[in-house]
Subunit: 361 residues, 2 copies
């Protein structure tokens, strides 16, 4: 598929992406729930269009710059799921003229500023910490919740939309059972909050998102909306979590081989930290930054034997490979690397994909 | 210095950069040696111009795209210090029309292709492994060296320039004494090689580079050229290696504070893996992704008490801070983060700096 490659090239398998989108949508019970996929993973109008063609109408992004991009690509219902920065107010004000914009707040300081300054209609979610401990108001801290809901009602432009959580601790839960426990706990916490304000706010929602839970659960019917993002591409990390298989991974970095050391069984590729990102998982007590694949005419496959990226410099990747495999590879070849964290790899490659039709997983 | 910041902003202190350039140049004994700084760290014409003003005429880059950029900015003597990819031949051929281009080769496969195909005049360095074990021919493997030197002579466009090594193992050496030992060993190895071919090639060079050695050594007078790169900015990693102090670090990521958790003493900033990179060092048995600073009107300083980035998501940074410090920070503030690895941070921020005059260290 690839010759004369002068630098790493990101390749995206369209068939796999579309299969993932359809599969996730099929799990969502339309009577109870909606899919509001996180578009930070791909941040790309073409990938976005595959969601639109599958019937998705509402999306999640990380910041107003991303929202601006997707509004320009005709998306009309966007949640910015990142603790709101009050300096974003002029930007979201402009976006709210043509689209329905929801923001997310997790503290009273920001909410106070917002209630003083907001002059455009904005939906507001309160971010709830259900155990990940990154951002959000602790789900048990109803005093703060009460105060925030009251503050919200002070400005007629701010429409209270409900409670949102990201259960990022599913990534390190260690088993499918534990992931399900986290999901059930988060549902119970957010249900209680929804119930608490039901008399005054009868139509608020509860929103949940992360790829491990949404991939592992057979049906998505509890929360009002689900916001997974990574599932459109998947990656090596999700494979080890149990959220996907090798054949689901839709993104691969094609890397020129520049050196092979047959004493150490190492393949050196042009494909380093600035391309893959330095995110890693630990396998056999050693960091793993990606897994090597070989290309066919129209796809890629995992070769027999071990072949993992074990070290990354700025532009170099060092693949430790089985000796038989190492003998077959020579400088000038092109190999693929499945990324550990596809969101970061896609961002770092400037969202510049070669899209192939590929193969349905 | 900063208000209404809608996204992370990279700030570069020009005075510190210029001081580092002058200091490094002052160490290089002009009778024996040259500085050929690695421009991958900044990859920026403006920063490059500070080197040119200080008298630097020769530079190092990582790939022909970077070489192309600097040739367009009037640089005329460039070494591409990355194992040569034969697909780069048309690009370097064009560059060699207006500039003196050196390439680096570490294996016979590539050299064979080169000797068959090169039709532009190129200087060629053989990359030597003096103990880092990333790329390069083992310094003891004179059989391969002999064969490569012979191969080189087969094509009249290829001019044998000498031996080049990168002692990347200085980064983990653990002490200044051990860094000096690595330096001396590398010098001894490359001297032997230079001597071996002296009868046939009387004017070949030996080239060495890495910021830890070049920063720690008081005088640079052994190798024909030195190729440090990171020293122009420095970073937290170099500080812990002992190559610089806090006041030398010339690059800081200004990050909007979006949330503060006073129970956990955590400051949440917009500034994550896609901005800083996920490179880290381990301090107190915990990963450290950056150190927090506070801004003054025209610079920044380290506050009293602990304040380190201890966790990074795609766009979030979590700073664990001393409780007194944490009390003073609120959402809407802007804090700075000194990066662990400035080369990666600069790349990921698209080399888009706000340059301030700053303060001489």
């Amino acid at each position: 598929m690839l010759t004369n490659l002068t630098k790493p090239l990101l390749i995206l398998d369209k068939s796999r992406c579309i299969a993932h989108i359809k599969q996730m949508l099929a799990k969502v019970d339309k009577n109870t729930s909606k899919l509001r996929p996180h578009f930070k993973t791909h941040n790309h109008a073409v990938v976005g269009s595959w969601f639109a063609e599958a019937g998705v109408k509402q999306i999640t992004v990380s910041n107003p710059f991303m929202a601006e991009y997707f509004v320009a690509h005709k998306w009309k219902d966007i949640t910015i799921a990142f603790p709101f920065n009050i300096s974003w107010l002029p930007m979201v004000g402009k976006l709210a003229v043509t689209a329905s914009i929801n923001i997310m707040v997790d503290n009273e300081d920001t909410l106070q500023q917002l209630s003083l300054k907001a002059m455009a209609n904005l939906g507001v979610f309160i971010k709830v910490d259900t155990g990940y401990h990154r951002t959000g108001v602790d789900y048990r801290d109803v005093k703060t919740m009460d105060s925030m809901v009251a503050q919200l009602s002070q400005n007629k432009h701010l429409l209270f939309k409900g409670f949102l959580t990201h259960a990022g601790h599913t990534y390190t839960a260690g088993s499918q059972g534990k992931i399900k426990t986290i999901y059930n706990q988060a549902f119970s916490a957010l249900c209680d909050l929804k119930e608490r304000y039901a008399d005054t706010y009868s139509d608020i929602s509860i929103s949940y998102g992360d790829t491990p839970s949404c991939s592992i659960l057979p049906v998505l019917d509890k929360f009002d909306e689900y916001r997974p993002g990574n599932f459109v591409f998947y990656d090596v990390m999700q494979k080890y979590i149990g959220a996907c298989t090798d054949k689901d991974i839709a993104l691969v970095l094609a890397c020129p081989v520049v050196s092979v050391n047959r004493q150490r069984n190492e393949i050196v590729v042009h494909g380093g930290a600035i391309h893959l990102s330095k995110d890693f998982i630990v396998k056999n007590n050693t960091p793993l930054y990606g897994e090597m694949v070989l290309f066919t005419e129209d796809s890629w496959y995992k070769p027999e034997g071990e072949a993992c990226v074990r070290s990354l410099s700025q532009e170099h990747g060092i693949i430790k490979a089985d000796s038989v495999l190492c003998q077959k590879i020579k400088p000038g070849d092109v190999v693929g690397v499945l990324p550990v964290h596809s969101c970061l790899t896609a961002f770092q490659m400037g969202y510049d994909y070669k899209i192939i039709n590929g193969t349905t997983p």
